[in-house]
């Protein structure tokens, strides 16, 4: 069964006089449990597509279904609920709440979901360890490097094992060792927990991990290939 079905998505932005194309008749189906990379030059519409899938942005036309939910029919509140309960987000630029520590940032969404305190602290501790931030749990974002902040965001996105993770440049700001570890973690979660991943990236190292590689340009999908995903060694 498909995890995501997008049909004929169009989105334009108005910037002054100019009309900018974000998405140009994009149709795509992503299977549950797949590991998809969106690549393409800057401005090609990757973020716009991710936002549409995540119910953050409404396309001008077209239909989106995520799981059993017809996203384009939902109102603000139910959309927020869907994001909260089904999707883990890693945003491209701004990810963390400045007044909260790394651990609190990770626990934040769990708290909003109403998960019990003990489970929260156990899981947040575990996940921060997995992304290599052991010992930095109590630092605030300002006391972390860009890469460390990115890893906190990743930890938050995957801590509750959502059905879908939408990650926008998750390896930006990461050195290649950490980037590799992070991708290993993604693949592990993908294979063992059947979490669907859609990752927008410029990073060829990231693309290498994909089972399906979609290339975009000017708001259109220009290629869509299946490829061999490397097995992770423990």
């Amino acid at each position: 069964m498909s995890s995501i079905v997008c049909k004929d998505l169009c989105k334009t932005f108005q910037q002054g006089e100019e009309i900018i194309t974000g998405l140009d008749h994009v149709s795509i189906e992503i299977d549950a449990g797949d590991f998809v990379c969106l690549s393409g030059p800057s401005g090609s519409g990757k973020t716009t597509l991710l936002n549409a899938m995540g119910g953050l942005d409404t396309p001008d036309s077209g239909r989106i279904r995520v799981g059993n939910t017809q996203v384009d029919e939902l109102g603000k509140g139910p959309l927020a609920d869907m994001r909260l309960h089904k999707i883990g987000f890693v945003f491209q630029a701004y990810n963390l709440i400045p007044v909260l520590t790394a651990r609190e940032n990770v626990e934040f969404v769990m708290q909003v979901r109403g998960e019990p305190a003990q489970e929260r602290s156990q899981r947040s501790h575990q996940i921060l360890k997995e992304v290599g931030l052991e010992g930095m749990e109590d630092r605030r974002p300002a006391q972390l490097s860009g890469g460390q902040q990115q890893r906190v965001a990743v930890a938050r996105a995957i801590v509750s094992k959502p059905t879908l993770v939408l990650a926008d440049e998750p390896t930006a700001n990461l050195d290649s060792v950490t980037a590799g570890q992070l991708m290993d973690l993604f693949v592990e979660l993908n294979q063992n927990h059947n979490i669907t991943f859609v990752i927008a990236t410029h990073d060829t190292r990231v693309m290498a991990y994909a089972r399906r590689l979609i290339k975009m340009r000017d708001g259109k999908i220009i290629s869509d290939e299946k490829q061999q995903q490397p097995q992770i060694e423990d």
């Binding site: 942005d57 927020a80 909260l84 999707i87 701004y94 709440i97 007044v99 909260l100 969404v109 708290q111």
Partner: protein, 411 residues
Amino acid sequence: MNILPLKAMFMLAWRNLWRNHRRTTIMLAAITVGVWAMIFMTALMRGMVDDMLLNGIRSLPGEVQIHHPAYRDDPSINNSIAAPDEELLKALQIPQVTAWTSRVRVPAVISSERDTRGVVLLGIEPDSEVQVSFDADTIYEGRFLEDSSDRGLVIGAKMADHLETDLGKRVVVMSQDPDNNIADRGFRIVGIYKAKLASLEETYIYAGRDTVQKLLKLGDNVSEIAITSEDYRNVDNWYPRIKQAAGEGVETLPWYEVDTYLGSMLAMMDGFVLVWIIIVFLALSFGLVNTLVMAVFERVREIGLMQALGMRPSTILYQILMESLLLLLIGLLLGNILAVGTVIPLQAGIDISIVAEGMEMMGTSSMLYPALKLNDMIMANVIVIVLGLLTSILPAWRAASYDPIEALNKT
């Protein structure tokens, strides 16, 4: 429900509040001073009005009075009532009644060898009168009456001046008995009192009740029975009980009906206090709204992030309101402490004699006793919280209605 638990909301609000130390401190100082001004000024106003009212009430009425039905129109000796019967005596035992007394009260003329003046002659029972109205400390020469059959007379200092008489001198007091015959008697002045209001000193002269009853051939009859309680504001709670016991034949009235001027004064004061509190609040609300608008504006991206992660707009709204509530509560706490802390040392009285010249005619004395009322404090606090939250809804609503993507991409 995707609502952040209260504890987490509180923590987030607390940290956000202290992100901008200076702004929060200034706002807290403003709320503190505002709340202080509300409560402190209210206490002063209340003190002033209490003083006026108590002077009014104590300058004879008593909080509840029992009279002959015709007495208020014609306060003559003919309109007297019998001493309290057993039923009334029993009713006067209720705990709300702190003291009661009965008086003979008649118009009279007092003469010394120098001058003659019209006065109100009071035949009193000194022990209970002291508890109801007369302050024995105001006797500044001689002594107060010792018992109901005391044969002495106590007059005011101003009256002594007018009559050019003095302690130990004799004066003649003249009135009418129920048969309209002149009744007069010589009295020796045993005490001279000073009242807060000069007009009282010129109006009232005191003699023993039995002595006056004999002089006027009244038997056991009195002109009025006066009753006091802990708090004159609460008379409505207990006076119907007295009224019932006193029966239909007499008129039992609370002070605000005996003296409608005093009653309307109190009602007006309540309104005035409310207006004052609201005016101070309005001044505060500008600062409060500004603080929140700034706080929201600075955090557009993070509010966008919270929404993107799945916090509902309503949760954002509550979050901002929580911040406002926290700010208000801390400010209120400090303001209340400051108000109580400044009023209590002043409760011994503030000497306002320099500014109070001429205020006497309004019924105030030259000492001002601030009166901190729990009700006023509660009112100030409730108004600040309720109106404070209401004015915070606007900036909170703005924050809640951001579009998450636009907010996230704001630079």
